[in-house]
């Protein structure tokens, strides 16, 4: 009798959790966030990292961006269409320019999802040490436009939103 009671309570709990997961968790938004956090993690390096680690990072970044990705960063006067094949060149340039680099995405919000497209906004907090040892930390608001291709979210557009206008 007691076992039956516990079993019923357990089943109700499991059903409630399942209903919550199905109806209240936005799985697409979670996937978008996961993809962006993962690309930020790949944009992190230190002098101790081997060439092999760097090659793996480049490959992972390539997988996460579309064939061509429009990048608009007015702070650094960047307005460019970056091809997936250009990623190794740019990342190696950045690696030579910055001895240490880490990117953290703060306040990451998925603003809209209209399959197969999504838009997310975040504050990218970049901690960088130049080859000359000088610190060059930066925080910028970035807007990402992503497209779902073969069940994977890929970045098609990165825009910097300027908070202060000189």
């Amino acid at each position: 009798m007691v076992t039956k009671k516990y079993l019923t309570v357990g089943l109700i709990l499991v059903a409630a959790i399942a209903v919550f997961l199905i109806f209240f968790v936005d799985w697409e938004a979670r996937a978008v966030k996961k993809q962006l956090r993962s690309i930020a993690k790949e944009m992190t390096w230190s002098p101790a990292d081997s060439e092999l680690t760097m090659v793996a990072r480049i490959k992972h970044v390539q997988e996460k961006i579309a064939e061509s990705c429009q990048v608009e960063i007015p702070t650094y006067k960047v307005s460019q269409l970056v091809s997936r094949n250009d990623v190794p060149t740019y990342m190696m340039m950045a690696k030579n320019y910055y001895r240490n680099l880490s990117v953290e995405l703060k306040d990451l919000k998925v603003e809209s999802i209209q399959l197969p497209q999504a838009r997310a906004v975040t504050t990218a907090y970049i901690k960088a040490t130049g080859a000359d040892g000088q610190r060059n930390d930066e925080a910028m608001v970035l807007e990402f436009n992503l497209q779902k291709v073969d069940k994977t979210w890929q970045i098609v557009n990165v825009n910097e939103t300027q908070i202060l206008e000189k």
Binding site: D107, K109, V121, T123, A139, V141, I163, L164, K166
Partner: protein, 165 residues
């Protein structure tokens, strides 16, 4: 007697009312420190010498409930959210004309006395009019090159509050 009261304070009897009080304190603390007094640590030297890297403060969000930011208030500017904010000083409000000449700040053509700015500055910036609904903010550290300093006008709606001290 004293021993027992100290013991009672640190190791209280876990009763229903004690747990209730604990929950109330926790909820009030979360509300206060998440929405009213947001703790933050200064990172970067853009507001030096007034605020230096590593200093701790609280962003008082109710500061501008009944008033608008005005010079020379120090304000926090929201970025994508409130996890990372910019700490800047208001130098002009909507409709005013801002300009820098040889490191000196001019608002509507008048030179502004800024005792909070120390160090030499060679900033030059052509006159800019602050758009309606915006304010113009600058950091106190003007000894860095103008290109390396983040400043300018921003919508008032981006102001989260002001540092508590």
């Amino acid at each position: 007697m004293a021993d027992s009261s100290i013991k009672k304070f640190f190791f209280p009897k876990i009763t229903k009312s004690y747990l209730r009080r604990l929950a109330v304190v926790a909820i009030v603390a979360i509300i206060i420190f998440k929405y009213v007094f947001i703790p933050f640590t200064v990172q970067g030297e853009s507001m030096a010498p007034t605020y230096v890297t590593g200093s701790f403060n609280f962003c008082f969000t109710a500061r501008y409930l009944f008033s608008k930011p005005a010079p020379p208030d120090v304000v926090t500017v929201r970025m994508a959210g409130q996890e990372v904010m910019l700490l800047k000083r208001v130098v002009a409000t909507e409709g005013q004309r801002v300009e820098f000449r040889e490191g000196s700040l001019f608002v509507d053509g008048k030179k502004i006395n800024e005792p909070y700015v120390s160090g030499k500055s060679d900033w030059n910036l052509a006159p800019t009019t602050v758009k309606p609904g915006n304010i113009y903010v600058v950091g106190d550290n003007r000894s860095v090159p103008i290109e390396a300093h983040t400043f300018g006008q921003t919508p008032v709606t981006r102001i989260v509050g002001a540092p508590l001290w």
